[in-house]
Symmetry: C2
Subunit: 229 residues, 2 copies
DNA sequence: ACAAATTTAGACACTCTTGTCCAATTCGTC
DNA sequence: GACGAATTGGACAAGAGTGTCTAAATTTGT
């Protein structure tokens, strides 16, 4: 019933509409209740379809769950790569551009519905479905970290940063950008725009204090600007 | 019933032994299977007691769960405060001392059994038991972050660090120390000693590049040592 | 060794959930 | 409006899990 999830046309009625509606409701319920705690009637009610329709579409509870995870994994990875492609390779204002990138990363990949759901499902059910989440591991972290690291390496090579190990720097960059959101994430909350911006700003400032060029020569006053709140 | 409490002795048999055994098994099973997925027979089998004994001790499944969470929260907080008390207030070798502290923090509070279990239970069931985990939030993050921040503030005041906002610095310190363990945590794994040391080392080095005194005057060569791998 | 307390195994009633079947109804399309 | 496909709701059997009850066995304190 709502919009804005998939890039394709969303059928607002008919067979496909039910399918989408079921997937939406199932993600929600599986995340909220865990696999064992979720029941088909709940999902049916939330999706506004009859229980039988769910069985018609997906066969059984486990197949439905697998479909959900695959779907989320795919969409999340697409979102992450799309966001990585907006990495500031030729920054005009390094600090501002990195903050904006960190905010995009958080908003579009980590704090959004798909990101939140996938993260929770991995944490909750990851150990019980190793092969399913191994796929995520390879397609997700296994591919996205190197991609981000490559961007930082390029930025360093172009003289904007002073980085020894791009892989470590990439991990630390995101860790810093999220540092102040951890407690909220823990309890399944969604940080608001302000919190995301705050965390990203503080994180990027610290990142640049560590990896920024000591004296860019062009703007000597800049360094001072980084330290004041 | 009887004896004046002997606070220290751990009973290896008898009534109390069963109690401990049940708590251990229940933590394990609740974490692995989630509250809804766990069943009493599983816990009984894992604890080596009969199902009825569990009902005798704890009344019902939910009361058992609550007891587990309280127990874990209490022990974890104790561990965290004990570790905070080992913070290097008068460091001899700042980098080495902070790395050692970060490793202790990880080993004793985050990667150990209690930490891992509590984290997973909060992630999995936090939304369903708000009042229970609100307690954790107040006693845990609400008290430990300020405590750590105060230590960093003191270190800065003593001239070892150059910190604007101790709260932010404290959060970033731990975020950096854990940066390379996130993926492992996600799937419920336990990082080995090497990974913990690696992550802490890289994290502390970055932290000091950001917050270390630029030129401590006394040891000019030190700064160089921080930057090489 | 005796008495009290605790533990045990099994049976049990009850509830909840899954997944199937089916007849009636609605929907999409021509 | 008519036809085929999809959806619905309700009944249903089978299975699993909770929590209770009991009588017998075991452990504990003295």
């Amino acid at each position: 019933m709502k919009l804005g999830v998939s890039p394709d046309i969303i059928p607002s009625r008919g067979h496909e509409a039910k399918r989408v509606s079921i997937m939406d409701a199932a993600s929600e319920v599986f995340c909220r209740e865990s696999f064992a705690g979720a029941n088909i009637d709940m999902i049916a009610a939330e999706a506004g379809v009859s229980r039988q329709t769910i069985y018609n579409h997906h066969g059984d509870k486990e197949k439905l769950f697998v479909a959900i995870v695959r779907d989320l994994t795919e969409r999340c990875n697409a979102g992450i790569f799309a966001t990585i492609s907006t990495f500031p390779d030729q920054p005009k204002d390094l600090e501002a551009d990195l903050i904006a990138f960190a905010v995009r990363m958080n908003r579009n990949c980590i704090c959004n519905r798909d990101g939140k759901f996938l993260r929770k499902l991995i944490q909750t059910e990851g150990e019980r479905y190793p092969e399913l989440f191994a796929e995520w591991r390879e397609q997700g972290p296994g591919r996205t970290w190197p991609a981000i690291a490559a961007r930082f390496a390029r930025l360093a090579h172009a003289g904007f940063l002073d980085i020894d190990d791009p892989d470590v720097a990439a991990r630390q960059f995101l860790a810093l950008a999220n540092a102040e959101l951890q407690t909220t994430f823990m309890l399944g909350g969604t940080p608001d725009e302000d919190e995301v911006l705050q965390s990203a700003t503080h994180g990027v400032r610290t990142f640049l204090r560590a990896f920024g060029k000591r004296q860019p020569a062009a703007n000597a006053g800049k360094q001072g600007a980084l330290t004041n709140a």
